[in-house]
């Protein structure tokens, strides 16, 4: 029998259930070199750009209105011990803090979030708005001699989150080193799949920065102490594969796994299934199989943070779509309002109704162009608005079940969500849905299934919150009732004791008149001595 290790070394490819093959549309933007996007404008930096928004994070803003900041300076503090999940944000430019205000953020709800408005310095004239990729000076650091804790802390303070689009804080994934286990060798899987149509930023980054990415991978492998590094890349990126192969020739630890193109092979769980053949349950994390998955853009950010002391203030963003005159990848600083991108790249606003953030399958449709870009924005699609497909009734064809990568029953879930029956939905593992949109893509009736699942998830969460709140209220009410009864009883028993004492005293007095006289005498004496003392 082949051990898992052998499977790794033989570069076996496993399959996952379902998946779709949408039109790729990657050629629009992947043939041009990436350039720096610059605008001497203002930036709106969201103070929380990681995916951990469900907790109320205590965010400490360390700049004040009117303060001068330099490019890469921390705007919020990540050092206090209480906010373990928090990742700081940094200034995208040299400039002045104009304001700290609430403004609609990148959350799907469009709700206002705290943002820091920074006006860029205008004193140095810029000859052209678009420059080539940043030239850098390497700091004198030998990361091989540094401890893992130091490196993780540095990664956190540089503001690095998962740049594949999920924006989960990277330091939390790296905190615990992988175990030494013979069955599951500690593996760093590098996600270079980029399976969604239109997006080419990872492809471009590998082509241009392969060497840096490999070094970033070596740094992360040093942190989590792993045996193997596997680059997994889809076969639709031959140039990227070639440039990777050129660099890793002399690294025995690193191998490349070329996987067939299929959506959503870039999902973390699907990726692990492709590499190991093992399916993670909804309660399992990659850590349970001794695996750490990192995106190439994250590794590049790690490389920059460790070797160049550069904080994460910009990322490669694919600007594509048929309305863009020059579609390609741009280094866009976080906090650039989308309206400025539209203006600077001469995108015709006339035909533009909706911008898609992310890919067309999982992305978020935005109508408010004033919102700023953030760490999760890896692609902006400016397409002419297409005619909305007519939504028809479900014909129970079962296509959605065939393509679901996690073997759910989207059709069943849809019916239950429509009739708002949450219990059976939970039994059908609603919370395991990764919202990849494959079911939406194949649905012949154009039913927005994922929207229904998101709605159900949000309602289930609301119900659970309500239940726990009512449980707390019940406890508090019962405790109060108990306390009131106890106080009442104590009062009663005290009262009873007093009346009993009185009765007893009066009985004693009637039985013993001498004692009564003595008591009166004693009281009189007490009064006399007191009045004497006073005079």
């Amino acid at each position: 029998m082949k051990s898992l290790h052998n499977k790794f070394t033989s570069n076996a490819i496993f399959k996952f259930h379902g998946g779709v093959h949408p039109t790729e549309n990657k050629l629009i933007s992947n043939s041009q070199t990436s350039v720096k996007f610059e605008s001497d404008n203002f930036f709106r930096v969201l103070v929380n750009q990681s995916s951990v928004k469900k907790f109320e994070l205590p965010i400490e803003i360390i700049v004040t209105k009117g303060q001068k900041v330099i490019q890469g300076e921390a705007l919020t503090s990540g050092d206090s011990s209480s906010d373990y999940f928090y990742v700081p944000v940094h200034s995208p430019c040299d400039g002045t803090v104009l304001d700290i205000e609430c403004f609609s953020g990148d959350h799907i709800s469009g709700l206002a979030e705290t943002t820091i408005v920074i006006e860029a310095q205008k004193n140095h004239e810029k000859k052209s708005r678009i420059k080539s990729t940043p030239s850098v000076e390497r700091a004198n650091i030998n990361w091989k001699n540094e401890s893992a804790e130091y490196l993780v802390k540095k990664i956190r303070n540089a503001g690095i989150v998962g740049l594949g689009g999920a924006t989960f804080p990277t330091h939390i994934k790296q905190y615990i080193p992988l175990k030494r286990d013979k069955q599951n060798p500690a593996t760093l899987i590098i996600n270079a799949m980029e399976c969604e149509p239109y997006i080419t930023c990872d492809d471009r980054l590998i082509r241009e920065q392969a060497k840096s990415i490999i070094e970033g991978a070596l740094i992360v492998s040093r942190i989590v102490n792993c045996d193997k590094i596997i680059f997994v890349i889809e076969d639709n990126k031959p140039e990227a594969i070639m440039s990777l192969q050129k660099v890793i020739k002399n690294e025995s630890k690193i191998s490349i796994l070329i996987a067939p193109t299929k959506y959503p092979s870039g999902g973390e769980k699907q990726l692990i299934q492709i590499v190991t053949g093992k399916e993670l349950t909804k309660h399992q994390l990659p850590k349970d199989l001794n695996i750490l998955v990192q995106n190439v853009a994250t590794l590049f950010a790690v490389y920059q943070a460790i070797l160049f002391n550069r904080n994460l203030t910009e990322r490669l963003v694919t600007i594509t779509g048929d309305l863009v005159p020059d579609p390609r990848n741009y280094w866009i600083p976080f906090g650039t309002p989308i309206s400025w991108i539209i203006k600077h790249l001469n995108i015709s606003e006339k035909d533009l109704d909706i911008v898609i953030i992310g890919g067309p399958l999982m992305g978020q449709k935005i109508c408010d162009f004033s919102i700023p870009t953030s760490k999760k924005v890896n692609c902006l699609i400016f397409n002419q608005t297409l005619v909305q497909n007519e939504i028809k009734d479900c014909i129970r064809c079962g296509e959605c079940e065939i393509v679901c990568p996690i073997k759910l029953l989207p059709q069943q879930l849809y019916w239950f969500s429509k009739s708002e029956q949450w219990k059976p939905m939970q039994q059908l593992d609603l919370d395991a849905c990764i919202e990849c949109g494959a079911c939406d893509y194949v649905c012949p009736s154009h039913i927005p299934l994922v929207d229904y699942f998101r709605f159900a998830k949000s309602e289930v969460k609301h119900l659970l919150n309500k239940e726990s709140a009512s449980e707390i209220a019940k406890q508090r009410f019962e405790n109060r009732e108990k306390r009131l009864i106890r106080i009442e009883q104590e009062r009663k028993s005290k009262q009873e004791k007093i009346t009993l004492d009185r009765q007893k005293a009066s009985e004693d007095n009637s039985k013993d008149p001498e004692g009564k006289k003595a008591a009166i005498l004693a009281a009189l004496n007490r009064f006399k001595s007191k009045s004497q003392g006073e005079s």
Partner: protein, 196 residues
């Protein structure tokens, strides 16, 4: 000697055997049931607990009972299930489901279903009379005599009971603001674009 005992016919022995076995068996069962009745006794009515767990626990008394549990007890004794405005339509549905009753609309006499609210004390106006503290069913108000009071917003059920006792009318009921933690996704509504 054996001659003294009258001869018993074998079928009679069989009958005695059967009676004996059944008596022993019945005795054992009786002992078991007796034991269970003592040691596995259910305290209170389990249905009350079930109903109580479906009620919203605001303890507001809008149903005419002093708290959710008394209302649950009243429902068991035949009270209507449509007297809980905080539970609303969803609450009536789940109660009807549990008790296998018809779903009926909310009783107007008890009040109308409203969005979640919390009490807010205007602290400058508070005179520290402690009347609201005594009225709060879930101990969500802190303060002491002649000192300013305040509401622990996370524990407040929005029951309204503290508003009436306040002599200076310094308690307001505010709607809970939508934030990233309590935001709810809307149900997809594509009726408008479906063509007939």
């Amino acid at each position: 000697m054996f001659g003294l005992i009258p001869e018993i016919s074998p079928w009679l022995i069989e009958i005695f055997q059967a009676i004996l076995i059944l008596t022993i068996f019945a005795g054992l069962c009786g002992a078991l049931l007796g034991y269970a009745a003592v040691y596995f006794k259910v305290e209170g009515n389990p249905l009350v607990e079930q109903i109580n767990s479906l009620l919203p626990q605001t303890q507001c008394g809008q149903c005419g009972h002093p708290g959710c549990k008394p209302y649950a007890e009243a429902i068991v004794n035949g009270e209507a299930i449509n007297r809980c405005p905080p539970g609303g339509e969803a609450g009536i549905k789940s109660l009807a489901n549990l008790l296998e009753l018809e779903v009926i609309p909310l009783n107007d006499e008890c009040g109308a279903e409203s969005l979640p609210r919390v009490a807010f004390i205007i602290e400058e106006e508070c005179i520290g009379c402690t009347k609201c503290i005594q009225a709060c069913p879930v101990d969500a108000i802190v303060g002491t005599a002649k000192q300013m009071h305040t509401v622990i917003a996370s524990e407040c059920t929005g029951c309204d009971l503290c508003v009436a006792p306040c002599p200076v009318d310094c308690i307001e009921m505010l709607f809970v603001e939508t934030n990233l933690l309590n935001w709810r996704q809307e149900k997809p509504n594509f009726q408008s674009i479906i063509l007939n």
